[in-house]
């Protein structure tokens, strides 16, 4: 029984360490990617990094993006367009980036992101775009 308990403790520590590492990596990548630039547009839009082998993209992310309605979504193959993926520090798929009309990254989401969260981020982006226009 002792070996089982020790193994359980080891796995617990490994899982905890992996979760901390993932949180750190995601925070660091987000910090670096914020403000990165891509093509400007008339309205805020979403850069959607995906790939052929990304299952969650098909089963979760794409249905969530479809719920957003009339929003421009630029689909980017993260493997084919490595330069753009590296600019936004894409280390996992899917990655979604909410871009301002000037083409600046406002919100970067690594991993699956729900439709309400993206809607909230887009509303914020629209709000700051309106503020900038009236200023």
């Amino acid at each position: 029984m002792n070996a089982q308990l020790w193994a359980l403790a080891v796995v617990g520590i490994v899982v905890l360490a992996a979760a901390c590492l993932e949180a750190f990596r995601s925070r660091r990548a987000r910090k670096r990617a914020l403000g990165a630039v891509a093509a400007p547009a008339a309205d805020p839009y979403i850069l959607y990094f995906t790939g052929d082998g990304c299952t969650v993209c098909r089963t979760h992310q794409e249905p969530a993006l479809a719920k957003l309605g009339a929003v421009r979504i630029d689909r980017v193959d993260a493997i084919a367009d490595r330069t753009l993926a590296d600019r936004f520090h894409v280390y996992t798929l899917p990655t979604t980036v909410v871009m301002s009309p000037e083409g600046r990254a406002l919100h970067v989401n690594y991993g699956y992101t729900t439709a309400p969260k993206l809607e909230r981020q887009l509303a914020e982006a629209r709000g700051s775009a309106m503020q900038a226009a009236t200023a």
């Binding site: 070996a3 020790w6 082998g53 299952t55 493997i79 490595r82 996992t92 699956y112």
Partner: protein, 147 residues
């Protein structure tokens, strides 16, 4: 590389099989040590299934038994099977390494096997596939042809 239809129910049954087998081996070995033999057996099942999908035990159980009887409903998704095969192979390799450690260092062997079960469970419950992410990273670095 083009996508094809992958039945995700088969993948889920496979992940359930991995979690259940490791848990039985883990808990069972506390009372009956030969239960540890399930871990090398599972490693063989996963590795053989990676290279010869028609011999993938859990998937075949789904295709030959669960699906025809309507016990588990099919869930076809446009996907790439190589990613999942890679993840399964990686699980098999980890279990093979775990098997080597089971006799001299049972804590390491059990921990590695349990880690595979945890990752299979995370994939089963939350859809996060670590093996698939590693596949993506290798593809991004040009180490495997991932796109």
């Amino acid at each position: 590389m083009a996508t094809q239809v992958v039945d995700h129910s088969a993948l889920k049954v496979n992940q359930t099989g991995i979690v259940a087998t490791v848990l039985v081996a883990f808990v069972g070995s506390a009372f009956y040590r030969p239960a540890l033999l399930l871990i090398p057996l599972l490693a063989i099942v996963l590795l053989v299934g990676t290279f010869a999908p028609q011999l993938a035990l859990f998937k075949q159980f789904y295709f030959k038994f669960l699906k025809p009887r309507g016990i588990v409903k099919p869930r076809p998704v446009q996907d790439r099977p190589e990613t999942h095969n890679f993840a399964q192979g990686l699980g098999g390799v980890f279990l093979a390494v775990a098997s080597i450690f089971l006799l001299p260092l049972p804590v390491v062997g059990l921990a590695l096997a349990l880690l595979v079960a945890v990752l299979a469970f995370v994939n089963l419950a939350f859809g996060y596939c670590l093996g698939c992410q590693i596949y993506f990273q290798l593809g991004k670095r040009g180490l495997i042809k991932a796109s």
